[in-house]
């Protein structure tokens, strides 16, 4: 069956689809039940799957993570919602010390097939702590996978893959584009691969690498640049960890130029990793220094000034021009 859906609805579709197929899948989190989630990502699931599979929890993120790990050790496949990524910090001890390690610690005797979903990123004029992009913290933790969809179809396919993954997956949903784009998708239970980039646009002059809501800005920059004769290859990283280094390297070897775009603060962002890997492994192919277009090394400002914090397509265009003009 085809559905014309936005990213948020695609998430809902994937959840419902997998819950129908697999009785071990359960959902837990704050307001995920009757309310269907503050963004409505879990809308109607409680009605369809009942109280035992869609659980409203007390308000305690540490608990949500810890209980999910216990459930997962028993072979359930919990999907925990953290209401906003800015509230994931209390869950980090459980995620880092246990979810990421249970399989390794027990040499595979126990495992932790869970998904933690959280909306992330800025641009929706939200209150403080509702606009963070701290994916880099999670990407640094061995034992986790970190996935970020940037379109309805990828949200659907990657979420299915995350749920089926035998290991813990952090699934970060760019809330700024939750509703901005409709896409026709088939509710066919087909997963997309975790650990692979998606090349959204082919080009020969320069490689643009990004993820999440920044893909929208990146694509529109690429569009504008095409009019000026600059052909950008646009890569959606999609899986922040483990990185699909190969696809990026192949592209950069072809174009010789790279701009990386992310919302998170520059220092210690995932962009640093990509930039480092490319320079280390393709130094002689680089025809210009890699440029990172990122958030600043500041706290995300309250929303009146957030547009000054967030990279936009003009920033990307400027960075691309600087890079292609480098000789």
């Amino acid at each position: 069956m085809k559905h014309n859906v936005c990213l948020l609805e695609a998430v809902n579709l994937a959840l419902a689809s997998e819950m129908r197929k697999d009785k071990e899948v359960v959902i837990l989190g704050e307001d995920v039940g009757v309310n269907g989630g503050v963004f409505r990502a879990t809308a109607n699931l409680r009605d369809e799957f009942g109280l035992k599979r869609v659980m409203d929890t007390p308000l305690a993120e540490t608990m949500i993570a810890g209980v999910s790990i216990g459930m997962a050790s028993q072979g359930l496949k919990p999907i925990a919602e953290i209401q906003f990524m800015g509230f994931i910090f209390p869950a980090l001890e459980q995620i880092i010390c246990h979810a990421a390690r249970l399989r390794n610690r027990t040499r595979g005797r126990l495992s932790c097939p869970l998904v933690i979903r959280a909306p992330f990123g800025g641009g929706i004029h939200a209150p403080e702590h509702h606009s963070e992009s701290t994916e880099a913290l999670l990407a640094h933790i061995p034992g986790l996978k970190v996935v970020v969809p940037s379109s309805p179809a990828r949200a659907y396919g990657l979420l299915l893959a995350a749920i089926r993954d035998p290991d813990p997956v952090i699934f970060l949903e760019p809330k700024r584009i939750y509703r901005s784009q409709q896409q026709e998708i088939e509710d066919n239970a087909n997963a997309l691969p975790i650990g692979s980039c998606f090349t959204l646009r082919e080009g020969s002059d320069i490689t643009l690498v990004s993820w999440g809501a920044m893909i929208t800005e990146t694509l529109s920059a690429a569009e504008a640049l095409a009019d000026e004769g600059v052909n950008c290859e646009v890569i959606d990283v999609a899986t922040i960890s483990p990185l699909d280094v190969e696809t990026i390297l192949i592209s950069v070897r072809k174009t010789g130029r790279l701009v990386i775009i992310h919302e998170a603060p520059r220092t210690g962002g995932v962009g640093a990793d990509i930039s480092a890997i490319v320079a280390e492994q393709a130094l002689l192919d680089l025809q210009a220094p890699v440029v990172r277009v990122t958030g600043y090394d500041t706290v995300m400002p309250y929303f009146r000034l957030e547009k000054h914090y967030l990279p936009n397509s003009q920033d990307i265009i400027d960075a691309v021009k600087q890079t292609v003009e480098f000789v």
Binding site: V34, V38, H129, Y296, R304
Partner: protein
């Protein structure tokens, strides 16, 4: 555990359900309290209107908390420190936060936390329960320095499920800290009703786990709240340690302007809650005591409406912060990267500006 009913002096019609304290025979405190409760509600109405017309961000309504916040603010000493959650604008305003700065905070501008009039009070805490520990730290400083001051901190019913709240009660108990914890038990945490948060008989019983006194109070009864907070503050000031007050109220509005409570709760429940409205209750009592009449009511409504309107106008006229402000307050001294990034941001905001030409040095 035997569970007593919440402490109450006024029933929901404003009739004394037990003899009121002596001071209730004089109008002073009662009228001040009523004044601020009405002011708070006017502020709330205006804030929602501003939000609906795109002039404010997501806003957490204080509707139904007036009977808690106002008595607390009136009982606190200026030298005490308020450590709020995000629904204590009434308390903050009475403690000196200019009305326009309250708007400013909800309008997405850090200057809403910056006013000198806020003294040493903490700004709003958005991450649930984190503030409870700050209050313990503030109270520890008072204790270490032998100051006769107290920290007062609020939390919602939902927030009491979060571990750090219990850690705060625990350290306050074992260190005998001068801190008052107030739970605004408004029965809902967004869509989660109180009974889904915890099987504890009453939230006040969480105090048992920390060896501190916990009491349940009718939070729609300003007289009961006054008594409770005063006793707790006295205990704190006298070095007798912490108190937990569970104030029973009801969230009369949506969780925030981003929420739609009709999705998860019944009109009947809401209607019944309005019967317990703290403002109506105090007004009835004032009338009963012959401290109040319709003309005073009209004058007060007009006065507070005007105060709020003027503040809203000021708010709307305040020009936005400079881009520099994103960088200037992060550290006492900015580092080189930050100075460079500030330059980029300023250039980028200029018509036609691009910071990339200068970057690779």
């Amino acid at each position: 555990m035997k569970t007593l009913p919440p402490i109450q002096y006024l029933d929901q019609e404003g009739q004394p359900s037990q003899p009121c304290p002596e001071w209730c025979n004089k109008p002073d405190w009662l009228l001040r309290c009523y004044h601020y409760m009405v002011l708070a509600r006017q502020f709330d109405t205006k804030a929602i209107a501003l939000q609906r017309t795109g002039q404010l961000g997501t806003y957490a309504s204080l509707l139904g908390s007036e009977g808690i916040d106002v008595p607390v603010a009136l009982s606190m000493k200026p030298s005490d420190v308020l450590v709020p959650y995000y629904r204590n604008h009434a308390c903050q305003i009475i403690r000196g936060m200019p009305l326009e700065e309250a708007f400013l905070y909800w309008g997405g501008d850090e200057r809403g936390n910056s006013s000198d009039q806020m003294g040493e009070d903490f700004p709003n805490a958005v991450p649930i329960a984190t503030q409870s520990l700050h209050a313990c730290g503030v109270a520890s400083a008072f204790k270490i320095r032998n100051q006769k001051r107290a920290a007062v901190t609020f939390i919602g019913d939902g927030g009491t499920s979060k571990g750090d709240f219990m850690e705060a009660l625990n350290v306050a108990g074992v260190w005998q800290l001068p801190v008052v914890f107030i739970i605004n038990n408004n029965q809902w945490a967004i869509s989660i009703p109180r009974q889904i948060q915890s099987a504890v008989a009453q939230l006040a019983d969480k105090a048992v786990a920390a060896g501190i006194p916990g009491i349940q109070v009718d939070g729609n009864d300003p007289i009961a709240m006054h008594e409770a907070i005063n006793n707790a503050l006295n205990r704190a000031h006298e070095g007798k340690g912490a108190t937990l007050i569970e104030a029973i109220s009801y969230r009369l509005g949506d969780h925030t302007t981003a929420d739609d409570a009709t999705r998860y709760r019944s009109n009947d429940e809401l209607k019944a809650a309005w019967e317990r409205d703290p403002i109506k209750r105090l007004r009835n009592f004032l009338a009963l005591q012959n401290f109040w009449d319709e003309s005073k009511e009209q004058a007060l409504l007009q006065e507070t409406h005007q105060l709020v309107q003027e503040a809203a106008n000021k708010y709307i006229e305040i020009s936005p912060q400079k881009i520099d402000s994103i960088f200037d307050y992060l550290y006492a001294e900015p580092n080189n990267q930050l100075i460079e990034q500030k330059d980029w941001a300023i250039v980028k905001a200029m018509q036609g500006g691009s910071h990339y030409e200068g970057e690779s040095s």
